[in-house]
Each structure stands twice: as structure tokens, then as C-alpha cells.
Symmetry: C2
Subunit: 200 residues, 2 copies
Amino acid sequence: MASGPSDDIESLISTMARLPGLGPRSARRIVLHLIRKRTGQMAQLATLMSGVAESARECLTCGNVTQSDICPICQDPARATGEICVVTDVADLWALERGRAFKGRYHVLGGSLSALDEIGPEDLRIPQLITRIADENASEVILALSATIEGQTTAHYIAEALEPTGVTVTGLAQGVPIGGELDYLDDGTITAALRARRKL
Amino acid sequence: MASGPSDDIESLISTMARLPGLGPRSARRIVLHLIRKRTGQMAQLATLMSGVAESARECLTCGNVTQSDICPICQDPARATGEICVVTDVADLWALERGRAFKGRYHVLGGSLSALDEIGPEDLRIPQLITRIADENASEVILALSATIEGQTTAHYIAEALEPTGVTVTGLAQGVPIGGELDYLDDGTITAALRARRKL
Ligand SMILES: [Zn+2]
Ligand SMILES: [Zn+2]
């Protein structure tokens, strides 16, 4: 009888293999690496994960990942600049924060509009964005979305949806390469594109 | 003040980023994916990891990953065929088991000889292999090592070291492409190469 990994190791490998960017082979390598390390790296990783699993949630206002109902950015009065930067997901928010160029607040969509995947405006917190503009008396909404077809479709939809509110809607300047995913850019490019943003 | 991921999320990301094949960007994607999943996948992964971290150890005989002192293959009397298949690491053992062509037992080196990395014969269980050949009255040692320079250097070293024991030493047949790492091959190729093994 063939005898591969034990059941619990096999479960760990197959669970890890379903993570984005991984597959069975890379999951096997990672699990073996963790087993070989005598330094307890696997136990440490397990502890970190269960801590984050318990504490991490979405900010009720902006959708940022946070450990309280409202994230530190939404709680910080210095960031009530009247500018709301709309991003596709939290990885993009982190990328912009690394650039340190944006001083306002964010709105995380959690995805892009997609007829194929049946993702509509309600799935992307767009109604909540419209409510926030009034509540926070926002003067400008910056659409920091990827220069992909989905990103730009989403940007055009939001720009139209916001027209009745009278808020200024801007997009990132050229500098985001065509077809480029925001999260792949270096921090300098993202910062430059933000500074040179244009009215849509 | 810039506000990226919280401290515990940042620790989780940086720990994951050091895993083989990952980096900061892929670690961020995985962690965000796990946070977004409402199905408790992160807690499940944490539980699986801490279970494996507690139970997984090396077989005292062959170096396979196991949950007892001696692995199921070394415990199985049906696998006492007198053939010992030497592999670089446990991923290769699993690959051979998936092929179901080998009915004997294994010996896991845990690496390849490397002057640069100061990995010598004692680091690779080679003395233990010599002891096993006498203890288990082995008739054949199959060197199922990668067709890389390190793998072949290690194979030649072992073949010489085993000469005094009189055991037949074989290597995998052609079929393993030059420069090819064993663990990258499909299971059929590995099985064919094993069946056509030749005396060294
Ligand atoms: Zn928030
Ligand atoms: Zn064993």
C-alpha cells in the first residue's frame, strides 16, 4: 500500500494548496519546510493565524481590515480632509499608505463590477459610498482603481452614480500602466499618479 | 501618520513572507484572502498547523515525516524487500509513493552534499544508511536523486561509500531530464525511470 503524507499533514497541504498563488506542489514545500524547522515556526504561525482570525474584521465605515468596529484611519480626526479615496481592495489601501501621499480616508470596494461573476453595485459598497459623501460632507472622491477593463468599468459606473451628489470625482493620473494592477506597482509610481490625479 | 496593517497582521504577513516560494506581496494576498473568507478558513488552517506542529517528527530509521518514532513504511513488514530507495527529501518520497512503483523502504538524506553550504556526509544520514544496510540485510540501494550537479555528486559519493558493503547500488534510469529536479516531474516519468533503473 502506498504511504504518502499522514492524514493531518495531507489536510494541511490541501487547505494551503487552495490559497491564492499556491498549488499542491508549493503547499507541500511549505509544509515540509515548516516541519523541518526545529525552531517552532509552524506553532508560531498557527498562533499568529488564530489571533488574526479572531480579531480581524472589516471597518463598518470604509471596509478596511481592522480590529475594532471603526478602523484607525476613520477614527483619526486629522484624516477628515473631505477626500475619500476609493480602492478595489485592502492590499491597494496598504500600497497607498506605504506611499504616504494621501492624507484623507478610504472606501474599499472589495472587488470590481463584473456581469460574468454577478458582482453588482450593492456587492461593492457603492450605496454606502453615496451615503458617506453626504454624512462626511466630502468634497472629492478619488477613484484609485486598476487600469484594467474591470477597474475602469467600475470607475465609470461610480463616476455616474456620484454625479447627483455634486462631489468632485477624480481618477489616478497617467502613470498607472495600461492593464496594470495597482498592487503590482512600486510605491513611487503610485504616489506620482496620485499627485497628478485628474478630474473625470 | 500612515496606517497600514495592524501589528498582528503585519507579523503574520512577514512570517508568511519568509516561507519558500512566497514574498511580501504573495503573503499579503494570502492573509487578506483568509481575512475576507467568512468561513473560518484562517482558524481552520491555524488548528491544522498547530496539530501538525505538535505531532510531526522524523522517522528514527529513515527520516520520513511521521507521527510516531518509526514511520508506517518502516513498520510495514511487507516493505522489507531488501531494497532501500535513497531520496533527497520527503517531497521526493511522496512523489515516488504517488507513482506506486516502489515496494521497498526509503532513506531520506535531507539535502545534498555541498562544500559551499558546508553540508557533509554526517549531515545527510549517510553513516546511518551504511548501518541500515547491514541491519536490514539490504540487497539493493536505489539512488533516486535529482539529475542536478549536487544530486549526482551526492550519488557518486554514496556509491563509493557503499562499495565495501557489497550491496548493489543502482540509479534512476534515463527519463529524468538533465538538470531536472525530481519533485517537478510527473508521476509517470518518475515511475518509468524507476522501473528502468541501472547499476552504477
Ligand atoms: Zn475605516
Ligand atoms: Zn521510516
